[in-house]
């Protein structure tokens, strides 16, 4: 239990997906200007990563390994993710149109979010068991949610701040991310 908790903290903060593993930078730079949207995106990503992390793990160890076709991992994983996203979209559209309305735009983008495929692949390379893969499936996107939300609030403030003109926009956002990465390194020393 303690080990799983340690893994959770490690994956959420220290090995943060965005700031130390560089997954999911595109959505971070692209659409995190509005904190509310960032929050919605983060929640959608938690859904997808949690489910895909479990499904891909099961598929890998119960289908690909017994059949000895582990070289099909990449194509299996990406198809699982793409259909999961599609499924989630249809499901939300039917059951709760309100949530669909607020999240709808971001859903297709999740397929090309490196974090989703990254977690699925990391679960295999790190030799996680199913429980650990499930923990990773929550911890990693939670780290993403935290970073993307904080980042969005900072960027809102940056918009009204007096930044040197050549740094406006993407450059200052990257520098902000760099400073946040420094802050996260501080936690690495504690754990």
């Amino acid at each position: 239990m303690m080990k799983l908790f340690g893994l959770f903290i490690a994956l959420t903060f220290v090995n943060n997906v965005v700031l130390s593993k560089f997954y999911a930078i595109c959505p971070l730079m692209g659409l995190s200007k509005n904190p509310k949207n960032a929050l919605n995106m983060g929640i959608a990503v938690i859904f997808v990563i949690f489910l895909s992390s479990i499904i891909t793990w099961l598929l890998y160890y119960y289908v690909l390994v017994p059949l000895d076709i582990t070289y099909m991992d990449l194509i299996t994983f990406i198809l699982v993710i793409a259909s999961l996203v599609q499924f989630l979209e249809m499901f939300l559209k039917k059951t709760s149109p309100d949530i669909y309305k607020s999240m709808g735009v971001y859903l297709p983008l999740i397929t090309t979010n490196c974090a989703v495929l990254g977690v699925a692949l990391d679960n295999i390379t790190a030799n996680y068991n199913l429980l650990e893969a499930a923990v990773a499936g929550i911890a990693v996107p939670l780290g993403f949610l935290i970073v993307i939300y904080i980042f969005a609030t900072i960027r809102q403030r940056l918009d009204i701040a007096d930044v040197p003109t050549s740094f406006k926009g993407a450059p200052i956002a990257l520098i902000t991310a760099g400073i946040m990465a420094c802050a996260i390194m501080g936690i690495a020393g504690v754990v």
Binding site: L11, V14, N15, S20, Y71, I75, A126, M185, A188, G189
Partner: protein
């Protein structure tokens, strides 16, 4: 309905073709990859004991879960030492390394194989000379200091060495 069947057929055709292409490349590269891995391993073993002959030794994996492999190094029928391949859970995944327990009663040739799962700049330091200096030429059984700032990763490495030591002292001493 007809459209859906047509689309599904097309999609499965593409998937089938791609599976064929992948299996072809896999057949092509698989022998090279396993060969290269084997060569890399003997190369690493040879870096510890030059011109030695190596032979895998069987052991109880349940009792020593961190030990992946044990090699006996022999030179002209004379036993030089034992090289342990250890895979120990570190920070983000498994750290894999070789360490030799020499007949002279010292640790020798600590060489990391895979530290990619550790946080770069912190835990990854167990893959550098800094860690090797703390292990090499130390008396077998004496404590090994961990690296501050890379505590979890270096503790994991030490744990693996402790297990190797336990095995060595029980069977070869």
């Amino acid at each position: 309905m007809k459209l859906i069947i047509k689309l599904a057929l097309f999609l499965s055709l593409v998937a089938g073709l791609s599976a064929g292409a992948m299996s072809y490349v896999f057949q092509l590269t698989h022998p090279i990859i396993t060969q290269a891995q084997k060569e890399a391993e003997t190369k690493q073993l040879n870096a510890i004991y030059k011109q030695s002959h190596f032979q895998s030794v069987s052991f109880d994996h349940k009792e020593y879960p961190l030990i992946e492999n044990i090699y006996e190094a022999k030179k002209d029928e004379k036993r030089e030492g034992y090289v342990y391949k250890i895979s120990t859970p570190g920070y983000g995944g498994h750290i894999v390394y070789l360490v030799a327990l020499d007949q002279s009663g010292r640790y020798l040739g600590y060489s990391p194989i895979d530290v990619t799962t550790e946080t770069s700049g912190f835990g990854s330091r167990v893959g550098t000379k800094e860690m090797a200096d703390r292990i090499n030429k130390k008396q077998i059984g004496s404590g090994i200091d961990t690296l501050s700032g890379a505590t979890i990763s270096s503790k994991a490495v030490v744990k693996g060495i402790e297990q190797a030591t336990a095995h060595y002292q029980k069977h070869y001493k």
